[in-house]
């Protein structure tokens, strides 16, 4: 060992490698490449900005975001916040944004449900169910979403009969070419207590679940959490509902003349977009779920059975927590895809962000500003969704010991 230390203490005489010429040095090369990229980008943006300024000047189009305060003069067929044609372009833009968010949120919930059902069904031991799920997934996945939307909207919903020949479900729900008419709930006096009782029941169920979990961790004793929660969530509101004298009535849609009055209506554009997005994204989620469940090693199933868990417990306690780790990252990108795909609303006339933005663009001619705003919104939505799903993913991730 001593001799080794000696050799180490005396650095061997080595021929110094020839110094590469200035242009061949690594740092110089890297700096040059990056400077070239920056110069190219600056030149590119200078080119388009000067051209855009020149073109806008020639066509007498104003620039800047002043147009957002001007009166829009058009109507939007579906609005969550009040909107009329005397409101500003800015407000119209927000109406479109809210419509996009509504369709995206409802679509994500429904597509997830459908996707999980179809994905699990595809793994079912029941041959027929597995085949039907496979048929659904393979058919829908291999078709453009736009085509699916057009088939649903123009092929199915538009040929529906007019209000007088509506499809009638139990005299309360009507489906016709103008949309789906449903009874609207009306909250009478005392309904506040009823709604509050639902909230109380939910909170109570949550508290019980946490207490039961803590107790099981401490003592190993189990508590029928599921049944208790069910009793709380169904029972308490039911009791208050009866006690406060049934404060809920329904306003049924009625046929008057050539149209329905009363009730509430889901517009055909919204229905078509929602159905299309749900079954399209659902087919992709089904594949993700199937891959996730198949990704859990067989030994996990067998081990879970071996320690005496029954069917539901095997899935809930062993398989799903592990499959979720495989499923969540691709699921996130499907949620993002659904949000982005909702922009196809423009093809069937649902007033989403892109559709309303297109109208504003046509009226004001301020293409650059409008398109930048639309893109900024989608980028923000994308970043928010992926941030949330990343947070969720870290919570679910395996804690390595």
């Amino acid at each position: 060992m001593a001799s080794r230390a000696d050799t180490l203490s005396q650095p061997p005489v080595r021929a110094k490698p020839a110094e590469p010429s200035f242009l061949n040095r690594r740092e110089v090369r890297q700096a040059l490449y990056q400077i070239a990229l920056v110069v190219a980008l600056v030149a590119f943006f200078y080119f388009i900005v000067t051209n855009a300024a020149e073109n806008l000047r020639r066509q007498n189009i104003a620039s800047g975001f002043d147009f957002l305060d001007r009166v829009s003069g058009f109507d939007v067929s579906q609005n969550l916040i009040s909107f009329s044609n005397t409101d500003s372009y800015g407000r119209a833009f927000i109406v479109g944004l809210l419509n996009t968010i509504v369709i995206a949120v409802i679509g994500i919930v429904l597509a997830t449900i459908l996707g999980f059902i179809a994905g699990i069904a595809r793994l079912s031991k029941n041959w027929l169910i597995a085949r039907i799920a496979g048929l659904y997934v393979e058919t829908v996945r291999n078709m453009p979403l736009l085509l699916l939307l057009l088939i649903i909207y123009f092929g199915v919903l538009k040929p529906l009969p007019g209000p007088r020949q509506s499809l009638n479900f139990a005299d309360s729900v009507f489906l016709n070419v103008r949309g789906l008419y449903m009874p609207r709930p009306e909250w009478l006096a005392g309904s506040g207590i009823f709604l509050a009782s639902i909230a109380v029941a939910l909170i109570a169920a949550f508290v019980v679940a946490r207490w039961a979990h803590a107790r099981q961790m401490r003592t190993g004793e189990q508590f029928p959490t599921g049944w208790t929660a069910l009793a709380l969530v169904v029972g308490l509101p039911a009791l208050t509902f009866l006690a406060t004298g049934r404060p809920l009535a329904f306003d049924y849609p009625k046929l008057q003349g050539f149209n329905f009055t009363g009730g509430m209506v889901v517009q055909p554009e919204f229905m078509a977009l929602l159905i299309g997005l749900t079954i399209y994204t659902g087919s992709f989620i089904a594949e993700i779920v199937r891959a996730g469940i198949q990704g859990v090693p067989k030994g996990q199933w067998e081990a879970a059975r071996a320690i005496g868990l029954h069917g539901g417990q095997v899935l809930r306690l062993v398989i799903i927590p592990q499959a979720a780790r495989i499923i969540i990252p691709p699921l996130t990108s499907q949620y993002l895809n659904l949000t982005k795909n909702s922009s196809l609303a423009v093809a069937i006339g649902y007033p989403d962000l892109v559709n309303v933005g297109g109208t504003i663009l046509n009226q004001t001619g301020q293409a650059v500003e409008v398109i930048l705003m639309i893109m900024a919104v989608y980028l923000t939505l994308s970043l928010l969704t992926s941030a949330f799903m990343n947070w969720f993913n870290t919570r679910m991730a395996l804690v390595e010991r």
Binding site: I48, L128, L146
Partner: protein, 428 residues
Amino acid sequence: MTNSPNDQTVMKPPRAQVGPVAWLRENLFSSIPNTILTVVGMFLLYWILKGLVTFAVLEATWVASDGAGCAKNDGACWPFIFAKFSQFMFGTYPEAERWRPKLVYLLALGALVPLMANGMGEKRKVLFWLIAVSAVLVILRYAFEFTGSAFTGFTEMVDPVFLVLACVFAAIGALLEERTGKTVFAIFFFVIYPLIAWLLLSGGVPGLPFVPTNLWGGMLVTLVVATVGIVAAFPLGIALALGRRSQMPIIRTFSVGFIEFVRGVPLITILFMSSVMLPLFLPPGWNFDKLLRALIMVALFSAAYLAEVIRGGLQAIPRGQFEAADALGLNYRQKMSMIVLPQALKLVIPGIVNSFIGLFKDTSLVLIIGLFDLLGVVRQNMTDSKWYAPTTVLTGYLFAGFLFWLFCFGMSRYSQNVERRLAAGDRR
């Protein structure tokens, strides 16, 4: 154990435990919930199939000369499809010049069959199916023609010369590849073929009259946009993927920014950009072909997605490969082009095919900026007053859907096939 297999006294297993009955019991009726599921499934399937068969076959119109003839029935209006078939394929490309896109298809077929099928066995299989399907179609066509059947739609639709040539081209390609190997075909398909195809389709040289792109349409545009999109996106995607893993901060930031931006916005907004913003960004008086504009945008769009696919492949290459290349004294370009990329790209072939399927479906969006791809031409023809009938619209969409499905399903099957082949190589 004295029983010989053909001893008459051996009892057969109970009928309920083997054969179809056992299969039914095990797979459909193993428990009460399972039985309920089966019954529900049967109803669902019956309901869907009944609707489809009623519309597409039982109540469909097969022979009619216009929409009024179709309006008599409640089902699909197939004569509309037969009459418009060549438009759906080529749009308004001049009749006299249609041999040009056909030749482009044939050349692609001749190059793709040997490129995609592996070994003589697979090639034989592909050729067999191609010849069998073509033969059936051609025989049916002449059968209808000579028996003087009223069902003339089929005769209009099937082009026997094209089908025969398709078989010939595919066979020649398959045989040639045995001598030359795949590399020659790859170079032909990715380098020489696009030039030939552009020259043939666009023309403008003696013997080939110029056909402006606004006359192109239908399946032709769908295929051109999807193929050019993916082929042009390929080098760009590789560059972006390498850029994202680069040590140079500005190049890395640029790559990440570009990829995340493009992946964060819908394709529609990018196409809108190409149609309303691009003209603003060019000096006054400059004009761009509409198709070319869409092609550039589609290529940039798919480059960002391809970059992420390729990055996945790069990440899967073990570090030792990079270090070994460094140890051999290879520079960056040699290391990437000779060691890393060949392995990485091979790994992500299924991912690339999947991006292609996605792009193929997304091409339908170009109809929003006024290009007539397959879906666009189908929509355009629905408004033809001669063919007005209540079911024309749904028939057209179902047909377009079927064509899209056929292509995408075929490609996804192919990608699964490749995946299996690659996995088999790893298992050995």
